[in-house]
Amino acid sequence: MNAPQSPVIHLVDDDEAVRDSLALLIGTIGLRVQPWAQPQAFLDHFDRHAVGAVVMDVRMPGIGGLAVLQQLVAQGVDLPVIMLTGHGTVEMCRRAFKAGAAEFLEKPVDDEQLLEAVQQAVRQHVASRERQQADQTARERFAQLSEREREVLGHIARGLTNKEIARVLALSPRTVETHRANLFAKLGCESLVQLIRRYAALAEEAGTP
C-alpha cells in the first residue's frame, strides 16, 4: 500500500462566488478543495491518482456538466461525481444518474446535505481504492509462485487435504507439506481462511487443473 494521501475535492463551477463559498463550506470539515473555473482545464489537469470526489455544476458555458461527467466515465476515472443544478428536472436527474453521477443535488444546497454527500463520496472512493490496492498486491505475490505451488494452491482452494493432493499430483505427502509451507510464506498469509479468501479467485483465474 502506498502512503495514504489526504483526499481532495475538485469543485467545478464557472461562478466565482459559488465556487468560493462552496470551497469555504467544504473546507470547514477539513477537506482539501481544488477549485476549477473551467471544465476543460479540470479535465486536462486534475490529479487522477488522488482520492477524493468531484462537485460540479450542470449548467456551465462551453461544455456542460453532464458532458464532463460522460468524458470522465469514458476515460475510466473512478472519482465519484456530485452534480449540482439550479433548475433540476426529473429528466435531467435521470440523465445524470444514467451517466454515472454519484449524487444529484439542487441549488441552493443545504450544508448538511452537501457535506454528507461529499463525505460519503470520499469514503466510497477511499474504500474502492483500498480494494484495488489489495487486489494489486495479491496479484504481485501470486506471480512469484512456482507452477507446482499454484497447482497445490488450486487444490487447497477446492478443499482437498494434503494426502489427497499428494495422490492427485503423484507426490509424497511430505513434498506437498513443503509446497504448502512455501505458499503461506510467499503469499504472506497466516491462516487457511485468509489464503482462500484472497487467492482462491486468482488461482481459479490462473486455470490450475
Binding site: 461562478d15 462566488a17 459559488v18 468560493d20 463559498s21 462552496l22 469555504l24 463550506l25 473546507g27 470547514t28 470539515i29 449548467r59 449540482l84 439550479g86 433548475h87 441549488k107 441552493p108 444546497v109 443545504d110 450544508d111 452537501l114
Partner: protein, 490 residues
Amino acid sequence: MEHGWRSRGAWWLAWALLTAAGGVWLARAELARLHEDFDTDGRIVHRLLSQQVVQYDAVLATLALLAPAADGPRPEQRLPAINPAILSVVRHDRDRPWPDGPHAEALTQAEARSRTLRRAEVAAPDLPQGRYLLVLAAEPTSFALAIDLAATIPWRDWPMDPRQSPVRVRVEQGDRAYTVQPGRFADGPWTFAFRKTLAAQSQPFDVVAERTVGWIELPWARIAGWSIAVGLALAALQAWLRQRAARRRAEELLRLGQAARLNTLGELGAGLAHELNQPLTAVLANAQAARRLLDDQPPEIDAARDAMTQAAAQARRAAEVVGRLRRLVDQPRGPADLQPVALQEVVHGALYLLEPERQRRGVAVHEADATVTVQADPVALEQIVHNLLVNALQALEAAPADGRRLAVETGRDGANGWLAVDDSGPGIPPEALPRVFEPFFSTREGGLGLGLSLCESLAGQMGGTLSAGRSAMGGARFELRLPLAAGAAA
C-alpha cells in the same frame, strides 16, 4: 384566390347537376302520372261509348222480335221521345219499300248486308255531323234507327270536364271523324294516344283519344322547390365545412400560441432559476460556512466575517437579477416613438379587426367621429384600444342578447384628448374597482389578469392615464387620457 374560384365553381356545378337530376326525375314521374291518367280516361271513355251503342243493337233486336204491326199503334215511334239519341225509327215491311228519302238506297244495301251477316249494319254514316243509321234486317219487318252521336255521349258519367280537358276524344271511321271533345291539341314534346274499336260489332267505329303535354305542364314549382332545397343544403354543407375549417385553424393557432408561450416561459424559467440560484447558493453556503466557523473551537471570527460579507454581496446580486428582470418586463420599449395619432382612426381600425367578434355576440356599436389627435406610440395605443374593446365585448356576453351595446367616444379636454369605452354589460363590482389594474387580478374566469395592467403601464409610458368606473349605459367605462399632439391642441 384561384383556389376559391375553382372551389366555388365546383359548388355551383354540384348544385346544377343535382338540380338537373332531380328535375328530370320529377318530370318523368309527372309524365308517367299524366300518361296513366290519360290511359285510364281513354279506357273509361271507350267502355261508356261501347255500352251506349250496344243499346241500339238491343233496341233493334227487340223491335224485330216484337214486330209491331204496320197498321197497329206503332209503339216504335215513341222511342225518340224516350231516348233523345234515337232521332227516328224507320220500318220496312216485307211488302212495302223503304220510305222515300235520301238514304233509301243506303238502307236497302245495309239491309242486304245485315241479312247476310245476321247482325245490324251501319248505313249512310255522316260522322262529322255525328249521324248514322243502324239497320237490322228481320222478318217480317226490318227496322232502322237514326242515331245522333252527340246525344249518345253519357256526359253524366264522363271522366273529364269536356270544356277544360286537354284530351281530344273522337269517334273515327276511316278518315271521317266525329269530335266528342275538342281538347287542347297543340304541338308538344310529348304525345299520348289511345285507339280502340267500339265493343259493338255492328258499329265498328274507333274511339281515339289523344293529348299533348307541353313544357308548361311539367311540375316546375316542384322542380324549383327541389332546386332551392338543393341550394340550401349545399350552402349549409359549405358553411359547415368552412366553419369546421375555421375552428380547426383557430384551435391550431391556439395550440401553437400556447406551445410558443410555454416554450418561452420554460426558457425564461430555466434562465431565471439559474441566474437567481447562483447567488442564492453562494449566500446559503457562505452563511452556513460562517456558522460552522463560529462553532469551531476556537471560533475563526475573521474567516466567518469574510463569509458573511460575501453572503451580503451575493444577496445584493440576487436582488439585481430580480431588478433586471423587472426592467425587462416593465419596459419593453422606450418612450421615443411618440408621434401624432388620430384617436378615431385607431378606434376604427380596432373595431374593424374585432368585427367578427362583435357580430358573433350581436353587439350594437356606437362609434364617435370627432377628430382628436394625440401624442402617442401608435402600436401601444392600438394595443390599449384593442384590449379595452375586447374586454367590453367579453363583458357583454353576460348581458341579455338584445341589450348588448358598446359605445366608443372621443373628445378633448384642455391639453388632453380622451377616449372612453362604455358597455352595457354587468360592470365591475365596486370592491374590485380599485384592483382592476393590478397584475394577475382578473374578474373573468380563466383570465390572466395582465391585459388591463399592461394597458395602464403603456398609457403611463406615453404620459397618459387609464381609469375605470361605472358607465351611464349600466356597465363599465374605461377612460384613456393622452396629451394632445402639438398643434392639435386648440
